[in-house]
């Protein structure tokens, strides 16, 4: 129990530092710390699979993505005051946490389930729809990022350039008489390549 408390306090400190830090890079590193500590908690709870996924995705992939985005956008901390004053924000959060506490405390005595199915069976059979939703989400994510990061005008220019190059080659290699016949047949004509002197 003491281990859980220590890990949760550590995760809370890391989360608070991630919110407090002025530099974005420091904030991202504190967030990675939260992920690492949470993955240890998951592992201790017997959820080894989600612990590994959290460690690799939460602390690895997401951190790399953040560092990449910060290197592109710049690590500028905003010194301006927040939109909502800190005191009012603190009061609102305290109110929300108190409401949540009223709803869930004291913890009801829950009945322990008997033998449960293995993780793979639960994920692929009982929660099969969730897997489909995950696939759709990943597809939407890829399309969204391509739409945001891609440069449509540059891509159109490149395509036009390629098409122009192809049409030049075709017009050079085929004489005007070599254009397609009305029935779609394209007779090949000999090509006059330049002869070396």
């Amino acid at each position: 129990m003491l281990v859980y408390v220590a890990l949760m306090v550590g995760a809370a400190v890391c989360a608070a530092q991630a919110v407090r830090a002025q530099k974005l890079l420091a904030s991202v590193l504190w967030l990675a710390g939260v992920s690492v500590l949470l993955s240890i908690v998951f592992y201790l709870m017997g959820a080894a699979q989600i612990a590994v996924i959290e460690l690799s995705v939460g602390a690895g992939l997401i951190t790399v993505l953040f560092v990449f985005a910060i290197s592109l956008a710049g690590d500028e901390g905003l010194e301006a005051p927040p939109i909502v004053p800190r005191s009012i924000a603190g009061l609102l959060v305290a109110f929300a946490v108190a409401l949540l506490g009223l709803q869930i405390l004291p913890f009801p005595a829950v009945e322990q389930a008997g033998a449960t199915a293995p993780f793979a069976e639960v994920l692929w059979q009982e929660r099969g729809l969730d897997v489909l939703v995950q696939l759709v989400l990943i597809f939407v994510g890829v399309v969204g990022v391509l739409g945001l990061i891609g440069h449509p005008q540059e891509a159109a220019d490149e395509l036009e350039e390629i098409e122009g190059g192809i049409s030049d080659v075709v017009s050079h290699e085929y004489s005007p008489a070599g254009r397609p016949e009305p029935d779609g047949h394209r007779p090949l004509r000999p090509v006059d390549y330049p002869q070396p002197d």
């Binding site: 989360a15 991630a18 919110v19 974005l24 904030s27 991202v28 967030l31 939260v34 949470l38 908690v41 998951f42 709870m45 017997g46 959820a47 699979q49 989600i50 996924i53 995705v57 939460g58 992939l61 997401i62 993505l65 953040f66 985005a69 910060i70 592109l72 956008a73 710049g74 500028e76 901390g77 905003l78 301006a80 927040p82 939109i83 800190r86 924000a89 959060v93 305290a94 929300a96 829950v110 009945e111 322990q112 389930a113 008997g114 449960t116 293995p118 993780f119 639960v122 994920l123 929660r127 969730d130 939703v133 995950q134 989400l137 990943i138 994510g141 969204g144 990022v145 945001l148 990061i149």
Partner: protein
Amino acid sequence: MGIGLYGLLITRNLIKLVIVLQVLVKMALLALVAAGYATGQVNLGQSLAVTVLVADTVVAVIGLALAVQVRQRLGTLDVTQLSELRK
């Protein structure tokens, strides 16, 4: 969870907003796994947590791509300035 909510209220930087959102969702992940642990259905909690993790990652990726584009086109990441653009 309170820390993430507080961060959402006071943050003005777009990238920082995505970071704070990650903090908030990590607590939701912990709640799912802990609920599974408490009821003896850890695997069910895990499978639900995987779905949340995938959705969270997609949100982070799209949010970061949006932030980078906003920074490159408009020159700022301040959400207050961005909301003034419509005036």
